[in-house]
Symmetry: C2
Subunit: 295 residues, 2 copies
């Protein structure tokens, strides 16, 4: 999907976040933001949001004293998520339909997204966890469950740090199937890289690859040949988060998107209200009114 | 107060709002936003947010096909507020302490601010109205009431369209005193101008002036000599909203700021949590920890 002019404030906010986390000098922050704004006018709004953000953060990395301003934030998110896991894992295993419950929690984890918001209050996460077990999932959970049962070779596209722990809980329920987990190739915003997958101990249960790209999404032509081969070979792709939706919603393939609608643009584009839990297969649906169904 | 780099995303969002409301052509919107971003790097962040926004919207008006993109939004906000008035007026007059209750509603009206957010859902206004009667007012309501009782000549600095109807309810309780109501001199964002004061029928109860400025705040040196004389002559100034706080918090004088804290920067600067109802006299308090008192 293309970017909208309403994505620009978010792009600028992400840049301000990166600048703020990279230096504590007020003068330096202002100088950096002036530089960012100067070349912000060149953004190609016909590109998807992850492609636009990729360009912005590539240029930012050239200016900032660190190549990963979000490192400390990601570590905090991982630590926090790790502490939540034992009780959530028990809740899932004790539920009537563990796979659906694991999907609910995997989508809940999608709240940990510094692309959509510049801070995640732990209180917000707790409150999302409270409502998680009773959240309706919109889209087509029946088709998702069938796809999971039939799949021989699942490619799981991760999204953010912290969230990756929640993804693990879902992956633990994708049993009897080969699962490959793909991480971002390089740090960008708080997107999860191989380091975060290792923090969640995922190397114990799946094969981990990275996509070779520094976009906060999955821009196929920008990904490594190895990743592209995995993408082609998979008979089911599970794509987590808005960034993967934004970059893959026009791509053909058996792709299920799992995400929480966190911005008005994604809400309008997907046809789901803000704050909706979505598990949907998208290809070919973009130009028709999106059916809304309570699962 | 100076602007922060964290104000910039909001400046860009306000510009995107103005562009969106001025043209429905996607191509034109993108062209305009590219132009905005190109000169956005020149913003003087040592200026207060209203001064920075003033510069941005002056330049925007040169590009847009209308000099008041928010006209329709302001008319909707006025219509909506007008319908709420009878029941709120009754609620205030029946309360134990009508002046304090009128302050609560005047601050509640401050939610109608397209500077702080790009859309006000009517549901949000209703929900704010539900909690309004029991909202604690932080700052110093005792001092405010004393100041109102003692004042001979009050200058009331209005803030936004829609909100001006809520201001009227408070002004109706500033009895036995000469009250002058100052509006913005020209349209900027959804700030209230003389037209909005007339929509609320305020010419029946007070003298209305305008400040001669197109800033979404009160930048004294930018205001007309007539306004400056009124400002000097007043023995109490009631300044509504964040924009007036941002531009007057360092100015000496018997100024009471009434506002709702709607952004993290104002929250940090004022020392009050987000969503706090504030009625406070500020001068000389900025460098010391702000006392928090429940009234």
């Amino acid at each position: 999907m293309k970017s909208s002019i309403d994505c620009i404030p978010c792009f600028v906010r992400q840049a301000a976040d990166a600048v703020r986390m990279s230096t504590s000098s007020d003068e330096e922050r202002k100088r950096l933001m002036r530089a960012v704004l100067e070349w912000m006018g060149d953004i190609d709004l016909d590109a998807s949001p992850p492609a636009a953000i990729q360009m912005i953060h590539r240029r930012l990395r050239g200016l900032l004293p660190t190549d990963d301003p979000y490192r400390a934030a990601k570590a905090r998110q991982n630590d926090f998520a790790a502490r939540l896991m034992p009780s959530i894992r028990r809740r899932i295993s004790e539920s009537f339909d563990p796979l659906t419950m694991a999907v609910r929690y995997a989508i809940t984890g999608n709240i940990i997204d510094l692309g959509a918001k510049n801070g995640i209050e732990f209180g917000d996460i707790y409150s999302a966890l409270q409502s998680a077990p009773i959240q309706p999932i919109f889209g087509d959970m029946t088709a998702f469950k069938k796809a999971v049962t039939e799949a021989q070779n699942i490619l799981y596209l991760a999204d953010n740090a912290g969230e990756i722990f929640f993804d693990r809980l879902l992956i633990e329920h994708l049993t009897g199937t080969r699962v490959t987990l793909a991480m971002r190739g390089m740090p960008v915003i708080n997107d999860a890289t191989r380091e975060d997958a290792l923090a969640a101990g995922l190397e114990e249960i799946v094969e981990i690859i990275d996509n070779g790209s520094d976009a906060p999404g999955t821009i196929l032509e920008d990904c490594s040949p190895e990743f592209q081969r995995c993408f082609e070979a998979a008979d089911l792709i599970i794509a987590k988060g808005q960034g993967n939706f934004e970059s893959l919603s026009d791509v053909s393939g058996n792709i299920f998107f799992l995400f929480l609608t966190k911005c008005p643009i994604i809400s309008a584009r997907s046809g789901y209200d803000m704050g909706t839990y979505v598990a949907a297969n998208w290809f070919g649906r973009m130009d028709i009114p999106v059916e809304r169904g309570l699962q």
